[in-house]
């Protein structure tokens, strides 16, 4: 079961840096799925996402003493992940393989959603189309817009958390988010 950011475990861990150092495994268990998911949806590559996730926790482990607790644990980990993902995206070899994989085998992310029995097959198909449209629109967003969009709409982070994780000002985050939303809405068939 995935725990929410305000779960009992996080509340128990957050106030004590010593706990962070002492029970790092618990942190990994709690946040690994989130970091992995963000890496996977950002990179769309399983191996690269696993690599980034491992690097993220390795760096967090080495930097745990310096964690100032001026943000939540998830936000801090996401900050590390955002930097690692940025490095990975700029890696020319990764760019080559990503281009190759995107052209050969598109990901059917909409197909992974469990069908809602309350919807008619037509309504479900329409919804799948819309999910696929958002997925495609997100892929075409510039890097920063995509990062902000995914942190907001996949990871449910608020503007302040996103600002901390990305190192942007809150207003800049909002601007990127609005632009991303415009692109997504256009892809969905609305008017920007």
């Amino acid at each position: 079961m995935e725990l929410s950011a305000t779960s009992e475990l996080e509340r128990a861990i957050r106030p004590d840096v010593a706990a962070l150092a002492g029970d790092f495994e618990a942190l990994v268990r709690l946040y690994r799925p989130k970091v992995f998911r963000f890496a996977l949806v950002s990179l769309r590559d399983l191996d690269a996402a696993e690599s980034v996730t491992q690097d993220c926790f390795l760096r967090a482990y080495h930097a745990r003493v310096g964690f100032r607790q001026d943000c939540g644990m998830q936000t801090w980990l996401m900050q590390i992940a955002v930097n690692l993902i940025r490095d990975q995206i700029r890696n020319r070899r990764f760019q080559f393989w990503r281009r190759a994989s995107l052209t050969s085998e598109p990901v059917d992310v909409a197909g992974h959603r469990i069908a809602d029995g309350a919807r008619s097959p037509e309504a479900q198909a329409l919804l799948n189309e819309r999910v696929a449209a958002v997925w495609e629109a997100a892929a075409k967003l510039p890097e920063r817009q995509r990062t902000v969009f995914l942190l907001r709409f996949v990871e449910d982070m608020d503007l302040l958390e996103i600002a901390y994780a990305t190192g942007m000002k809150e207003g800049t985050v909002k601007t990127h988010l609005f632009r991303a939303m415009r692109a997504v809405r256009t892809r969905l068939g609305g008017t920007a």
Partner: protein
């Protein structure tokens, strides 16, 4: 910020403000009174909500797939590999032994060949066949 009239629909940024939460009061009022904007906002919210759900399901399935690959029992694979290796070694050993036996037989052959050649030489060098040799002795005595 210019407020649109009731006939004018909300822009993408105004709809985004609604989705991000805490829209201005006039935007909320417009949404209440404008069915088109309300429907647009509902569709956008639903698409983003489903997108989140789909991405999370996909991520979980990918994580499980990765876990399945990592936790695949290595014993069966190594068992097959070790048996294949043992079989290959056995075949190699058989080949080597066969080769040694074969070449060993070949090394004994020259000696027997030499004996045979000497016999042939002896037969060829006879003046008459061996069965006629007694007759030849009588002729010589005469």
């Amino acid at each position: 910020m210019r407020r649109p009239s009731i006939e004018e629909h909300l822009s993408s940024d105004r709809l985004s403000e609604c989705i991000l939460g805490e829209p201005d009061a006039w935007i909320a009022q417009h949404i209440e009174r404008c069915p088109a904007c309300r429907a647009e906002l509902g569709n956008l919210r639903e698409a983003l909500g489903e997108f989140r759900g789909a991405v999370r399901s996909w991520s979980e399935s990918q994580a499980q797939a990765a876990l399945a690959i990592d936790s695949r029992p290595p014993e069966s694979h190594s068992w097959i590999a070790s048996h294949q290796l043992a079989l290959a070694l056995l075949l190699a050993a058989v080949c080597i032994l066969t080769s040694i036996v074969w070449h060993g037989g070949e090394s004994a052959a020259p000696a027997s060949d030499a004996v045979l050649l000497n016999q042939v030489d002896a037969e060829v060098s006879r003046a008459v066949p061996s069965s006629m040799e007694p007759l030849m002795k009588l002729v010589v005595q005469e």
